[in-house]
Symmetry: C2
Subunit: 152 residues, 2 copies
DNA sequence: AATGAAAGTAGCGTGGT
DNA sequence: ACCACGCTACTTTCATT
């Protein structure tokens, strides 16, 4: 992980579909060198994948929310099972297992407020391990697609 | 947005670097057709971009957290300013503006717990609009990279 | 580890159905 | 709208440094 690798990661986070030639040209290296660097970064799992960023509204997901869960009993097996359950629901985009006031925070996106309400009622209220949850509707969110390496 | 567009989005969310030819072949359409569909989806901003997914640990970001903020006074200008401030910090990956108990939830990733503590102290405690915040350290998180269209 | 050339392959415009 | 063709450009391997 030298400065060149960092530069490659920075550029591929911003635009994953630029050609290898273009990337090599902007970095001032040969295309074959650039290709090999990227191959190694993938093999080392530093680059985990390449994903298109799709507007949720185009997928009929106009209402997003964060759901804060309290789970009891708090054991590894229960947490793992609930995490797997939540992550498998098509409305769910992210599951965070956290410390603090809540045990789990789940990011969901749904067509409407009505759909969200029905979804929460149908999928979570009946589960024994869920002793309580709280909904935060998301008004806006901005995502920083390019993360730089940090120095300790 | 027909079934073919949905299929294209599904595949590009899973792997944004597959060639147009491969995608066309798996969908059973001509490459030129596929290319034109993708071009329109980009022009309509349904596809917002293509991004490499990089392991945060490789960027020296071993400790992630969600920070829950209470902001006062609660006005559009104050919220916008704080959002812009937070989103501009390199440690921050996502800013959610929400309803409910909190006003803003910020996803951060840092090298260590010490770094996180110093970061919170240096960047947030001195800001007047921050009347309180709470930290949830993230133990695990799973992200669903492929979002399907939902039917109302 | 980086390069340059060479072979295979893909992108993308044009025209046709 | 979709497909077929063809030119140009890209990717990728390998010998060389």
């Amino acid at each position: 992980m030298d400065e060149l690798d960092s530069a490659i990661l920075r550029h591929l986070q911003r635009d994953a579909r630029q050609t290898n030639r273009d990337l090599a040209r902007t970095l001032g290296i040969a295309p074959s060198t650039c290709l090999e660097r990227i191959r190694v970064l993938r093999a080392r799992k530093v680059i985990r994948g390449y994903h298109a960023d799709v507007d949720p509204a185009a997928l009929n997901r106009h209402v997003q929310a964060l759901i804060h869960f309290q789970i009891r009993p708090f054991s590894r097996a229960i947490i793992e099972a609930f995490k797997a359950y939540a992550a498998g629901l098509p409305e769910v985009s992210t599951v965070y297992v956290v410390t603090g006031g809540d045990d789990m925070i789940v990011h969901v996106s749904t067509p409407s407020v009505d759909y969200l309400h029905g979804f929460l009622m149908d999928k979570f209220t009946e589960r024994r391990e869920v002793v309580g949850f709280r909904t935060s509707v998301i008004y806006q969110h901005t995502h920083n697609q390019v993360l730089e390496p940090l120095t300790p």
